[in-house]
Amino acid sequence: MSQDFASFILDEASRRGASYTDVRIVSIENEVLNIRNGSPEQVELQGLRGFGVRVIVNGSWGFAASVDLNRDEAVNVVKRAVDIARASSRLKKRDVILAWEDARRAEYSTPYKKDPFEVPIEEKLEVLMDAERSLAACSPLIKTSNSYYRGYRERKLFMSSEGSEISQTITWCGGGIMAVAVRGGEVQVRSYPSSFRGDYSTSGYEYFESLHLADHAEEVGMELVKLMDAERCPSGEMDLLLTGDQLALQIHESCGHPTELDRVMGTEADMAGTSFLTPDKLGRFMYGSKNVNLVADATVPGGLGTFGYDDEGVKAKRVHLVREGLFVGYQTSRETAAALDLKESSGGMRADSPLSLPIIRMTNINLLPGDWKAEEIIEDTRDGILMMTNRSWSIDDKRINFQFGTEVGWRIKDGSREALVKNPTYMGVTPRFWGSCDAVSGDDWRMWGTPSCGKGIPGQVMYVGHGCGTARFRRTRVGLI
């Protein structure tokens, strides 16, 4: 039915004057489980099915969408999209041009061993209850303990007037634990494997099982209790070491977003902002030190930003953003690639639902592994701080000045962890910070997945990945509060 329905839409749009049309028919299943203080706080299933139609008429874009999948509504949606495009064309400066893309007929699914939607909810809740119970039992200082699970599946049919017909299914799942300790007016937080509801991967239920949440609960809870009595993070300039769970967000905010070409070209100026990585810097600007190699890679197995084809039908690929410190590439769409005379799109266009317009989104933005081992970096550090697990983040609208806070820090003295420190924060300026990166590990390199990257108007929330290990940044400003 879906192919027929999509073909009907393509024909209808062509009949109404569209020079290009693509249609996405998408269904999403989202299972969210959360145990809080011994009770199920959230046992929720979300289901969404709908279609979105993007057209070019008179050289301008129009987009309309609906959750009603019937032919009458399809005609209404096409009419609306065409009408919108015609209206837009009254204010255009130039026609939309798309970079060339071969028409494809393809099928793709992210692989998994155990289907997350076939595992009974009772079984998942049992795992979560067990982990949360262990966490809560660590100390009476722990006032809130949570365990989380989320399973997600998106089935998409993409068809275009250029002849593409692509079916794909993306499945991901994961979870985590988080505890909050309170004493007086002080609140500390500790999470595993990462903050903000855990870590996620395009895998099956086997990934959630591999997290072994209950086995880590005691370690997380006990470190949280120790944190209450730890010294505050010292203030000053010193060497900063970031583990992967924090470095992932550092990459996300200071490399992922500023290399999105829509931001660079000004189309996010009213919301997310622009970027300091302007086109005159492409191939000329030293973004970081020689140790810094960053790629956008939608092909990494298990990455949360892994897929077969983007929402313009572009095959998933790996592109360099930074090579040995030099800024060499952008994340693009077909339209922005053409505008910059690039040969092809980087394949970064995705929408978070059938009702949303695809925009440039991160895939997996990875810091390629270096030659160091994580422990060697610590042993090589005379005076520094190791920070792990994000707690707060903020960066300006050109992605230059940032400030991050983490759940926990370790004072490093003469090559070993000297003491736990609380409320760690650091601040930097993107190219200077990455320019000070003198050590990148390889042995603890892994993919981290965050399902909550916000961008666009109306706001869209996308799942993206980041591959990294541990890295060191010389002479960084720490301890801002």
Binding site: G47, A87, I121, T267, D270, W393, S394, N401, Q403, I481
Partner: protein, 458 residues
Amino acid sequence: MVLDRLLDLAERAVKTALRMGAHQSQASSFILDAALTRYANSQIHQNVAFRSGGISIRVVLQDKRMGDIEAFTLEEEGAEKAVEDAIRIARASRPNPDFKGLPEPMPWGPLEGAFDEETSLCTPHDRVQMVREAIETAHARSPLVRAVAGNLSTNSAYFAVVNSLGVSARASLTTAGMKTTVISELEGSEGFSTAESYSRRVGDIDPAQLADEAAERSVKGVKPVRAQLGDYEVVLSPLAVRALFTYISSMGFSASSYQDGSSFVRYFTGQRVFDEKLNVKDDAFDPRTLYMLPIDGEGVPKSRMKLIASGEALLDGICYDSLRAGRENKKSTGHSPPPIGRRLLDRPVPYNVVVDPGDSNLDEMIEETKYGLFITDLWYIRPVEPTRVVLTGLTRDGTFLIEDGELSKPVLNLRFTDSMLSALSEIPLLGEEVKTFETNAVPAMKLKKIRFVGVSAY
């Protein structure tokens, strides 16, 4: 017509749930007709419209096992399947002792002025006309204006809530919002500024006025200099005040943060922590707030709440839905998010916040400042230490040094990291005009001191 359809769908879902064995059940159904025209580089680059709709179902079994389903379907068959799924997951769940019962029916009535026919009928061509006016006005202001960006949205939202205890409520609302950001350029140096306007009536929005305001400031903003870091007296435009109070109210006055210990209200109640001129309420009946809805997502009538009175943060200002209220044996204050917003908001927060005005204005605030900063907007505010309301964030879209009562020069964006308990402890002046934004309505404000720790430059 639309509301009748939604109410009927919700009623049927509740009946179906009871028939399938639910002890209690609640259904809320919604339709959102949304349209957005977005522009950049002085032309439209994104123009969209969509209809979203669906039903949220909560079923509760005799032993307090609960299941929630959110299904984006408006068909009876789909709703029935959603009820089946809700029963299935409730059976798989565990009893929730926080559940004390779904809300009982209480009297409520529709609010005058919540829905505007003209806004609901706004066409793409109407929006293009407004965008054209903004772009042309900004460019006419100065040859330095290089690009105009922004967005214009019109939305019509409808929802109905029914539960098995007799709640039967419905509401509709239109909203319109326009933001214009102007980028000026002189000898390779950029100046940014922005202006925003929100109303339930698209006819209230004046694109030319917004463009004029943003263009004037962006032209003044070219060739910014680097300001010294440290403490500054600041004059905040309503946009910047909006940004601060969005965080303060959602961090401090949500039952979620209160119950997990991260709300500052828990530790400072009964003390005057802010300037005594500061009075803040959450009031869905105040026409200055955008989301004028008589009921919340559970059909509970909205309450008028005082959050901050004469500088004191009030425990009675904590906002609850029924589940979180049950945890403390309290009643819901009517702050369960409506079904339309649940994808983005999953906890009770105040979203009709009004900060009481004073008797000043921006010109006077600047005139009365010997040395300080004027801040158009604040951006990327995040809590660093929530219990002391330590926030970090950056200035954006027009920051100027004030010297001897005048805007002397534009400065590069600055990062602040400071406790709002300190920053809002001295508010020498409050604006007399309250401006409406999405979740709050606020005046301009002058603060005696806020600490800047970084600059956006390399």
